[in-house]
């Protein structure tokens, strides 16, 4: 029986034998939704959890949350995907990636809380979901189309042309199945996925991608071109009036007022300032928009981070996608390069390091007749022509693209460069072969979370405060809007951890016991509130209110997450109970990684993190000589022994074996995961 927020069933599709079945959501409701439900499904449905990501038994879950498709701000539009990944190095860990847009809402309106896809089709197919009617369709004619072309074809097919002329169309055969004006929400692969690239993504609409992990390659390995969904059903809300009132109150108190902002960038057309103010159109970060545009958001968003442009090129792109060709001489070419990725379905974060390849060329190592043979036009580096050749070679597996399609880490390994270049930092890939995102020697909830997990965590909830705030203010000549001390106090209070020293990024602070608590909180928080309930990473949590009208900078979290969740579901969950579910999900994931071969000895960073001092200034809060300050953290290296000691204390805190990092039976049973302990034990991998 579904409660508010859930629609009651999960779709299971087996592409090997064509089975289409329903799974009752209630069986997995204890995990919240999204990632938690996905991991629980994975545990139940994948017998051998050590299979390779390309194996037909690999399970893709595309899950919503009870908040999907609802008015809960910036929690309605994310779809969380779990699967055995392709890109992590040296082992393709069981991993996750989520994407925004409309897919999650349409899936709920169609009557599904999620999708689980297993098996492998003999021929190219796409999955067509129209309310409760689910069919596996022939995708022969779609194979070879780019991600945009594929979506347009499916829109027209599903709507029978109605989305072309803007008329209502029926989803089903009679009027009682409902009509819609909305286009089907389609998640698809491009050529990169078809060619089984480890760095392929899936794309939905113009710029929503699930990229890290190589989900596009997993789709391709199953001969799955796309999943389309359109729905006309309803999502029940336990307390509608409370939800509307909470949304209104939240928006009035904490959102950026577009007509009369409380805080505004002193520099016009500077999207990155939105890291502080939450202003719309934040997506392109440092790139001012050169042509007229609108903000564009996922369903239910109150921020609307992205933009659609009058050129139609680079629509809805954001973050590192927008910065892919940051060295381009003009924004027209920069946007073109970004569109190349979108249409090919290539994950920007693995191919972001084209400057590394250029460095190898300049070092006389890569190029015609050189140690690493390549005919890429390095003489045109910095032009769109180079970027076109670069992307083309990867998606078609030609030239060095044959290696790069396996991911930058595996390519560097094949070239004999991995060890030397990650030791020097020339190739700055600190954890599991993923590109450095933020400074791993300083902003340690990012790096520790990544190495203790499965990927670059890509969790900005604290990062916008501790990293971006002071840097962005400095970029426009402003002092911080809040002192370092006040910042960490608000974070400590909002998280519930209580001790502000958990957010001390000083030489001592990054190894301390308070940091253990802060990292633990972060892992549990993100696993539940963010990745299972699908609160957007770019909007939540909200610990500091820079849009305050009355000077009170206290943020919305955790009060509003709890209010929203309970208004939707009718439950009475507390913040702390959510964190405990996060602990459960995090530990379940750890059990899967353990079966895949994880041991604490593997949870170490690339050598440059330990051996090469930082050179670029950061701006993190640090407690130095008895006082809080924002500090650049120059000259920092991570100490191997101290980090190992940190790991020992962290494992103990999580209830994991300190010698191996494996979960123990006592912990698993306390989390109601005794069946997981049984399987670990039968595989000789239960923590002592």
């Amino acid at each position: 029986m579904a409660t508010g927020g859930y629609v009651g069933k999960i779709l299971y599709v087996n592409l090997t034998d064509g089975r289409i079945e329903e799974i009752e959501t209630s069986k997995y409701e204890q995990f919240g939704g999204g990632h938690g439900m996905g991991s629980a499904l994975f545990w139940d449905l994948v017998e051998d959890k050590t299979v390779d990501g390309y194996h037909p038994d690999n399970l893709i879950t595309m899950m919503t949350s009870p908040l999907s498709g609802t008015l809960v701000p910036s929690a309605s539009g994310r779809t969380e995907c779990n699967f055995i990944g392709l890109i992590a190095y040296p082992i393709g860990w069981y991993t996750r990636s989520n994407f925004g847009g409309r897919f999650s809402g349409e899936l709920k309106y169609a009557g599904w809380d999620g999708i689980a896809i297993q098996g492998k089709s003999e021929t190219p197919v796409w999955i067509n979901i129209a309310n409760d009617k689910v069919t596996i369709e022939d995708a022969t004619d779609l194979w070879g189309l780019d991600t945009y072309e594929t979506q347009e074809e499916i829109w027209s097919t599903v709507s029978k042309g109605n989305t072309d002329d803007g008329t209502w169309y029926g989803v089903g055969t009679g009027r009682d199945s409902g009509r819609t004006l909305q286009k089907p929400a389609v998640a698809t692969i491009g050529k990169a996925g078809e060619n089984l690239n480890r760095n392929a993504c899936i794309l939905h609409d113009a710029g929503n991608a699930a990229g890290q992990g190589g989900l596009g390659g997993v789709f391709g390995s199953k001969n799955l071109k796309a999943v389309s969904v359109i729905g006309t059903g309803s999502v029940e809300i336990a307390d509608p009036a409370a939800l509307i009132a909470a949304r209104k109150e939240f928006q009035d108190k904490f959102a950026y007022n577009v007509d009369a902002p409380e805080m505004e960038s002193p520099v016009p057309n500077f999207p990155a300032y939105g890291a502080i103010t939450l202003s719309p159109g934040f997506g392109p970060l440092y790139l001012p928009t050169h042509v007229p545009s609108r903000p564009q958001g996922c369903i239910g968003c109150y921020k609307n981070c992205r933009r659609r442009l009058s050129t139609g090129v680079s629509n809805e792109d954001q973050c590192v996608e927008s910065l892919f060709f940051i060295n381009g001489s003009n924004q027209i070419d920069q946007n073109k390069a970004t569109d190349l990725l979108d249409k090919a379905g290539l994950n920007v974060y693995d191919v972001f390091n084209h400057s590394y390849l250029y460095a190898l060329n300049q070092m006389g190592i890569m190029g015609p007749g050189m140690e690493i043979e390549s005919s890429l036009p390095f003489e045109k580096y910095g032009t769109i022509e180079f970027m076109e050749a670069y992307v083309d070679c990867i998606i078609n597996r030609t030239d060095i693209g044959a290696d790069l399609a396996e991911g930058m880490a595996r390519a560097a390994k094949k070239w004999g460069r991995w060890e030397i270049d990650t030791a020097s930092g020339l190739l700055d890939r600190p954890n599991w072969g993923f590109c450095q995102h933020y400074e791993p020697r300083l902003e340690v909830e990012w790096s520790y979370g990544s190495i203790l997990g499965d990927r670059d965590i890509n969790e900005h909830g604290l990062n916008f405060y501790v990293h971006w705030h002071s840097i962005i203010r400095g970029m426009v000549g402003q002092e911080p809007a809040i002192s370092a001390e006040d910042m960490v106090n608000l974070i400590a209070e909002g998280t519930g951890v209580g001790d502000p020293m958990g957010w001390d990024y000083s030489e001592e602070g990054i190894y301390g016991d308070p940091k253990v608590q802060a990292i633990s909180w972060h892992r549990h928080y993100t696993r539940f509130w963010k990745q299972s309930l699908a609160f957007c990473d770019w909007a939540w949590p909200n610990f500091i209110n820079f849009n305050s009208a009355d000077g009170d900078m206290s943020g919305a979290s955790p009060e509003f997450e709890v209010r929203f969740y309970n208004a939707v579901t009718g439950k009475s969950l507390t913040w702390e109970e959510g964190l405990e579910i996060g602990h459960k999900i995090w530990t379940l994931d750890k059990a899967i990684w353990t079966l895949q071969g994880r041991h604490r000895d593997l949870e170490v960073f690339a050598d440059y993190v330990y051996d090469v001092p930082t050179e670029a200034p950061d701006g993190l809060p640090m407690f130095i000589d008895g006082k809080w300050e924002y500090n650049a953290g120059l000259g920092r290296t991570l100490d191997r022994d101290k980090f190992e000691d940190f790991k020992t204390r962290f494992y103990a805190n999580e209830g994991w074996d300190t010698a191996t990092g494996w979960p123990t039976r006592a912990t698993l049973e306390a989390l109601d995961l005794g069946y997981v302990a049984d399987e670990l034990e039968s595989n000789g991998k239960l923590g002592a």
């Binding site: 008015l71 002329d165 803007g166 999502v235 809300i237 509307i244 928009t289 609108r294 659609r308 050129t311």
Partner: protein, 239 residues
Amino acid sequence: MADIDKKESVAKAGVSRREFFTGVGGLGVGAVLGGALLKGILLPDEVLAIPASEGYLLVDTKKCGGCQTCMLTCSLAHYGRENTTLSRIQVVQNSFAKFPDDLSIDQCRQCPYPSCVDACPTGAMHADPTTGARMVDEEKCIGCERCVNACPFTPSRVQWNHEDQHAQKCDLCKNTPFWSEEGGADGKQACVEMCPMHAITFTKDIPVQTDSGYETNLRNSHWGHLGFPVDDAGEKMPG
């Protein structure tokens, strides 16, 4: 269904009221009279006209963020459940298209001469006696969908509510049992209240009966400061 069978339901004998309404394209007598509130105008087939609505939703499509918050709010306030297809205001967009032609906001015009009201054989579709808002008396609706098909706009602003089995359209939030605010032409409208981009507004003046009459520029200098256009056409970079 829906718009597809619209033409077949229109009477063709002489100049019907619907043809009159559609023929004036929305220009209508309301505009001719300069926006005065109409309480009884004689139409070509000598039927007393319907009181004008005392409120209208205006939108700035160039300010819209496409988040569909208005739709989620509309569905929730009226029905207590979320369903974008049950929203009486519809945002329709194409991710790949060029701004500003990538998006439309399709809201009811509360037409001065409402074809939907005229087409209803039971009086279910009516003008609210106190505010003039064109509304559906759900108890009287027999599901013939003449109102749906009579709407002169594409897409039709009147919808078939397939879950509750009646026609529906924007009532300016007159009947919002799941919203704690007072709605209607004399109250608040949920979509206006909740739009995070402040791209929807409400007016009591009858708009000029063209598409542009319901399109307004709600963008000020702060919008321009964010790098978005503030000119009416949305064609110029600010500054």
